[in-house]
Symmetry: C2
């Protein structure tokens, strides 16, 4: 069994048996509202029980304090971490969310750069300031933005970077890791496959090859 | 019966009977993920059937195109409109969301300024550009930001402005309307009241008084 540096973006209700198979290769899972709407809370609880290293609710939270705390407080019993936007700012938003999650022993990842073309990275200096005030567990930086991964890695050497946009969205397996991310988030490539377990296994192998290719770079970083 | 320029932010599962009473005074309702998590889709469908002028899903969407379309496509059968952030940009995000909603005959409101203290309005020129490309039904501008309501009203004279932050968050009933908003969004003041129907009725009266006070300003705007 080879555990990859991968997070499964579970945006489709896969059978629990299939997820058990994927779990042998992929240590972490990320839920979206799509999985919640299609599977319901009971399904998410079943998936949580499979014993992942980390279960992340990727709700792209971007509301006022009371609304965000209201949402996460209903989900903390079967989650380890949550993803929120940073652009909403600190006072009246991320201040209360981050202190609530800290109190509950849950992690917070802040979005610093998204993977799609229309995302505007010129606001990064502001988002970085917000991030420093929040001091979260980690950050979300799109794999399609290699330069942004390097910038965030440099600005926050101690933080975990998780990186979506690998596979269908265009980035190659392993590239985000080579650029400084800690985990790559893969969704459609796996859950839309006719054999998701086999695809997960192959993906891990591809990632391993790519990581070995850039090992020297990674070593220099440490 | 006096229908106000108010939208009920239903962040609490109120009895259907109570909502029928509120419906006599308040023409529109807005759901959040909190109502969805607490009441489930069946509850939201029941509320939808009460015959509001407009049912808005306030999910503060802020994701890539496929995820946002995936979410709203599961809710369009009992909704009229959705609220999305503008900050995420056009290509790969709001382009697909807005064309999907247009095709489905559903409305889209973009957040241009939030009601909490930490929101940074210095990004407004960028958000305005995004908004012009999207050309949505309307905008969300916090009632706690009277200057921003005036700016957005001036930049988009034809668009609907809906305004949260009235009541518990600090803005006075009617003020956002006086500043140029078309609807005020009221949540906690009503749903946390011991008699929500009575509170709704009183609120409408207060709003009416305030609107009459500033009628001259409104008339000049038209």
């Amino acid at each position: 069994m080879l555990l990859s540096k991968t997070i499964l973006a579970l945006d489709k209700v896969l059978p629990i048996k299939t997820l058990k198979g994927i779990r042998d290769y992929i240590p972490k899972v990320k839920f979206s509202y799509i999985t919640l709407l299609d599977g319901g809370l009971e399904y998410l609880k079943e998936v949580y029980k499979l014993g992942w290293e980390e279960v992340i609710f990727d709700l792209k939270l971007a509301d006022i304090d009371s609304t965000m705390v209201g949402i996460v407080s209903r989900l903390t019993s079967f989650s380890d971490s949550f993803i929120s936007h940073s652009f909403i700012g600190f006072e009246g938003a991320l201040d209360d969310l981050s202190s609530y999650l800290l109190k509950e022993g849950k992690g917070l990842y802040l979005v610093l750069s998204m993977s799609h073309k229309g995302w505007n990275d010129s606001f990064y200096p502001y988002l970085k300031d917000v991030a420093k005030r929040v001091n979260p567990k980690g950050f979300v930086v799109g794999a399609t933005k290699p330069e942004m991964i390097k910038v965030v890695r440099n600005d926050f050497p101690e933080k975990i970077i998780i990186s979506p946009g690998v596979g269908v969205q265009g980035a190659l397996f392993g590239d985000a890791l080579c650029n400084g991310a800690d985990y790559e988030i893969v969704g459609r490539s796996i859950y839309s496959s006719t054999d998701p377990v086999k695809t997960a296994r192959e993906l891990v192998a591809k990632q391993e090859v790519r990581i070995n290719e850039c090992k020297e770079v990674s070593e220099n970083r440490k």
